[in-house]
Symmetry: C2
Subunit: 239 residues, 2 copies
């Protein structure tokens, strides 16, 4: 109970966690340029957020800044990496080697940022055995063995929607407790498993919503402004 967990127990808001990687990227950039300190204002500008938000976010990590000066880039970089768990690599397995899985397997950014791809799995016998980016695709049923050999921490699901839940279950059974889901479907996982999703079509639909609003507003403006005529919105395809 009365444990001295002062350092770790600091609960970091989810919204802040999602921004830490942005700061990290900016810091790396700044470090490469040789700057040794950085102000919250500059860091905010580079990361595309508000300066006050930056300061508050960083304050959750601890008081690593110096008033009147700013933050020591190297030190902050170290602390943030530690907090994000980036002091060592996390091995990744990609499940589903179709178009997207293929591209992800070839994406160099993962390894560069500390997420080397340790294994590729699929269920389709036509794909199994093929080599992508130097890694041989194995059958998904071998996951337990693979997870035992390598220390797999994160699973990426790039299968069709129908197969995703089954694959997730297999990943979890093999001990993977962090999953990034690209399949356009809702996955249900135990509460101790972290799940994030990236749905490309959903992103486009959200953009579509706002685009729709924008063009609708334009039409209204065009109709009301010049004539003031009765508002009978002409069908969209009048271009």
């Amino acid at each position: 109970m009365a444990d001295g967990d002062k350092r770790q127990a600091r609960r970091i808001p989810e919204a802040t966690v999602a921004r830490l990687p942005l700061y990290l990227r900016s810091l790396v950039e700044v470090a490469d340029e040789g700057m040794s300190t950085i102000s919250s204002e500059r860091l905010a500008e580079m990361s595309g957020v508000n300066a006050a938000k930056v300061r508050k976010d960083l304050s959750y990590l601890g008081s690593y800044g110096t008033r009147g000066v700013g933050y020591d880039v190297e030190y902050l970089l170290f602390q943030m990496s530690r907090e994000l768990g980036l002091t060592h690599d996390w091995h990744v397995v990609i499940a589903g080697i179709g178009n997207l899985g293929h591209a992800l397997a070839n994406y160099a950014g993962f390894r560069e940022r500390g997420f080397p791809i340790a294994a590729l799995v699929d269920a389709d016998p036509r794909v199994i055995g093929s080599v992508v980016n130097g890694i041989t695709v194995r059958h998904i049923d071998e996951l337990p063995d693979i997870a035992a050999d390598q220390q797999i921490s994160i699973g990426i699901i790039a299968t069709p929607a129908g197969a995703a839940q089954g694959v997730a279950d297999q990943l979890i059974a093999a001990g993977v407790s962090s999953i990034l889901n690209f399949a356009p479907t809702v996955l249900t996982v135990p509460p101790d498993v972290s799940l994030r999703k990236v749905d490309l079509a959903v992103e486009l639909q959200i953009l579509s919503f706002y685009q729709q609003r924008k063009t609708a507003a334009q039409r209204v403006a065009q109709i009301t402004a010049p004539t003031g005529a009765t508002v009978a919105p002409p069908p969209p395809a009048a271009s």
Copy 2:
């Protein structure tokens, strides 16, 4: 003033907008199964959200449900599609035909969901002229012509980080006002341009953070549980 904008003026919260596509997907699924009505509870379960939230979200679109019965699937589907601007296709251009751009160009889900890929552009002469998924890659400087020919509404940036801002500027200059950015960098765009981003490495880093916390908690449990020895949390990295 006294225009009949009651229908459109309802301001829909951003969080709700982001969920509408999920509902839409569930509705399509339900419609395929032949169900004609659906309750908020079932829709919630399928979409992985809270039932009260579903009802509130749908209420922003209007009162399209029937008490005691539920929502008419077809009708709700229509209203939601209309609201999301999915009654017609939106043409998409993909900029940057590397690994990821290639995969995106081949992804059938875009066309299926009403986002046909109208053009592919790149700056690398070695890529220009090649045909991906039936579409010839053209030079990015031709964007104005391409945008004039096709009605391009949405641009997807799949270039390296360094090129992204320049590409975004070109897209915007060509009249594209909705952008989905896959490049790991912060883009600055005019306020009338919608911008969403998908950063794969960031997603993994967020997962890494929580994974880190989980394993750290496990270590603490292992230390405290068996012996009950004095809790002197071994400093993570003996600073």
